[in-house]
């Protein structure tokens, strides 16, 4: 995810990782290992609930108009992620 995020301008898309089901301290330590500057993140268990408290990792692509374009569980390879992001950018 981090490598893919660096391919896109911050003006075009937001990469947001929402941590939960653990502790802010442990999550911060892991985030430092996983994410570069291009990915913003935060710890908030409450945000999981509106999305059904999903298993993780759970990814959702949302348009600038707050419409869900695609969502999936589990990891995907970089090319698949780029294709998904390109599609998101094409629809809004």
């Amino acid at each position: 995810m981090d490598a893919v995020a660096q391919d896109y301008s911050p003006d075009d898309i937001v990469f947001l990782a929402v941590a939960g089901k653990s502790s802010p301290e442990k999550s911060a330590q892991r985030a430092a290992e996983l994410f570069g500057e291009r990915i913003t993140w935060g710890y908030d268990d409450a945000v999981w609930e509106p999305f059904g408290s999903p298993y993780q990792p759970y990814t959702i692509l949302i348009t600038g108009g707050d419409v869900i374009v695609e969502e999936w569980y589990g990891p995907r390879d970089a090319d698949s992620l780029r294709a998904a992001v390109d599609h998101l950018l094409s629809v809004g």
Binding site: M1, A5, D11, D12, I13, V14, F15, L16, A17, V18, A19, G20, K21, S22, K26, S27, A28, Q29, R30, A31, T40, W41, G42, Y43, D44, A46, V47, W48, P50, F51, P54, Q56, P57, Y58, T59, I60, L61, I62, T63, G64, G65, D66, V67, I68, V69, V85, L88, L89, V91, G92
Partner: protein, 130 residues
């Protein structure tokens, strides 16, 4: 149609043949007028049989059925693609999908994120450190 004729006096020197021709011409003219009168009534009857609304057609004094009169319409007149102002071009329809629940959260850098306030597309991933 009343016709007034003044026949020449019997003492005139009009020959019987000319008199007969004159009567024949009069008869032909009378027959022609009768035929024209029938033609005048025919179109009106036809229009009535077609059950055309009175506002949609008109009959002239001569009995001719004119083209239907177009009712005024509230729709704007048709325009060509070349004279459509840019601001009237319909925008692309938004992506048809389920709405994302709105949420707000404090990010690790201390800033506040509100989904509904974000105008850029969002790649959102839920994750746990374990």
């Amino acid at each position: 149609m009343p016709l007034a004729f003044s026949y020449p006096p019997a003492t005139s020197n009009v020959s019987p043949v000319r008199r007969l021709l004159l009567l024949l011409v009069i008869a032909l003219v009378a027959a022609a007028c009768g035929s024209a009168a029938d033609d005048v009534s025919a179109p009106a009857q036809s229009a009535a049989e077609q059950d055309v609304p009175a506002t949609a057609s008109d009959t002239t004094a001569g009995g001719e059925v004119t083209e239907p009169i177009e009712e005024p319409s509230e729709a704007p007149p048709a325009t060509t693609s070349t004279d459509v102002p840019a601001e009237t071009v319909a925008p692309q329809p938004a992506f048809d999908g389920p709405p994302a629940p709105d949420f707000s959260m404090t990010l690790a850098d201390g800033t506040e994120f509100v989904l509904s306030a974000e105008t850029r597309p969002v790649y959102l991933v839920f994750w746990a450190e374990w």
